[in-house]
Assembly symmetry: C2
Homo-oligomer: 216 residues x 2
DNA sequence: GCACTAATAAAACAAACGTTCAATTAATTC
DNA sequence: GAATTAATTGAACGTTTGTTTTATTAGTGC
């Protein structure tokens, strides 16, 4: 046997990507074999090498595209306003929405960094640092203008990111809480954590995706 | 060749444990080979099987003992006081001190859960849940007595634990911040996050290990 | 110093790994 | 409908994996 009827390169590649994210998230990169991935896709292992030259290149591609997606999502959601409270709200809402939507991909990007070669690791970390820098800038602006009260900007940024990203560990869609409820609570916790002066965040308020949350 | 001069079972086992924690933290459980571990210990791979029947049993032992250590540390640090603020302070201080001290072991316990068999996974998760339950109880008591203002106890507990445990990701001993400084800042952030009424935590205050922090 | 046990080495096992290669068939082009 | 290109199979490669078996030596008790 050889080429199968109805076979299409683009579709196969997309299927590989999807299956790889799920499999790596579940088993881990090292524990997932190429044969396992191939069988999930419904293809022989050799066929995978038409699309990705090595296993590591596949992992790297998944990570890079995930980080690019996160950056792009934030660029689309970033408010024009200079108000630190609004900007922080948008950051939190975007971060949580994105990470819940792509739980598996986030898991891969966070857990499998050590399987990358040094150069590729550096590349991913650079993207991540750039994204985190945005948060630090917001916190610094808020602290300087007196809207926030923060001890250590860098440390607070790390704490917030760990807290927000941690959502993917326990959140399961369709359980006790909706995405909207989780986001509202995290927004409230974030604002208290940074000592935001205006504290109207504990009360329930209409939920919107980051880009809609500019005006409030 | 066979038994080497000066060989001692207890010492070898301790060396294996230590090397395994470091190696698994650095490379990951799946990526670490038994031969690699053996060479780190200065022994042949077969010798490892005198101490641990399988690779997974080794991993499980490391994790179980780490969780037991965490539980014991908290039991020793838990204040007699019923005051939620004091109890929460002790919890945060103990958690951060323990996790920084045993960064590598924590990394292993958090990242390699998926390599355990279902029964062993359940056992570890049970220990973890019991530990987290302590935090939820503190938050609930504080919320009920009006000392804290919390939206969702369970969600807040998860957020706090993610935030605190996240320290091990970026903290490197001997860099910009001392353990005491980090703990102070995290304590301040925690108290603001739960909306603690008495907010004297932003100011610098003498640092003490959990068990010494009862009176303040 | 002899018997016994503890601790290890050395070699081997089958299974699984990532990857390559040649052959083969489906779709597309002209 | 012949020639070309795209997509895939099946078999094979050399390594590495966790683990077992057997033999050998160091330490210990008497």
């Amino acid at each position: 046997m050889a080429r199968t009827t109805g076979s299409d390169g683009e579709k196969t590649e997309a299927t590989i990507r999807e299956a790889a994210v799920n499999l790596i998230a579940r088993l881990g990169y090292e524990a997932m074999s190429m044969r396992q991935l191939a069988s999930e896709v419904g293809v022989q292992a050799a066929a995978l090498y038409r699309y990705f030259p090595t296993k590591e290149e596949l992992l790297f591609t998944l990570m890079r595209e995930h980080m690019e997606g996160l950056t792009e999502a934030w660029e689309a959601a970033r408010p024009v306003s200079a108000d630190p409270v609004q900007r922080l709200s948008a950051y939190v809402e975007n971060h949580i929405a994105f990470h819940i939507e792509r739980r598996h991909a986030t898991h891969v990007s966070n857990m499998e960094l050590r399987s990358l070669s040094p150069e590729r690791l550096t590349q991913i970390l650079r993207m991540r640092t750039a994204y985190e820098k945005e948060l630090r800038a917001i916190l610094r602006d808020g602290a300087e203008t007196g809207v926030f009260s923060i001890d250590d900007t860098g440390l607070t940024a790390m704490a917030l990111i760990q807290m927000m990203t941690g959502v993917i560990v326990w959140f399961r869609p369709g359980e006790r809480l909706s995405i909207a409820e989780v986001t509202t609570t995290y927004l409230s916790m974030t604002m208290r954590l940074v000592g935001a002066k205006i504290d109207a965040y504990s009360a329930a308020r209409p939920f919107g995706r980051a880009k809609d949350a500019v005006a409030f």
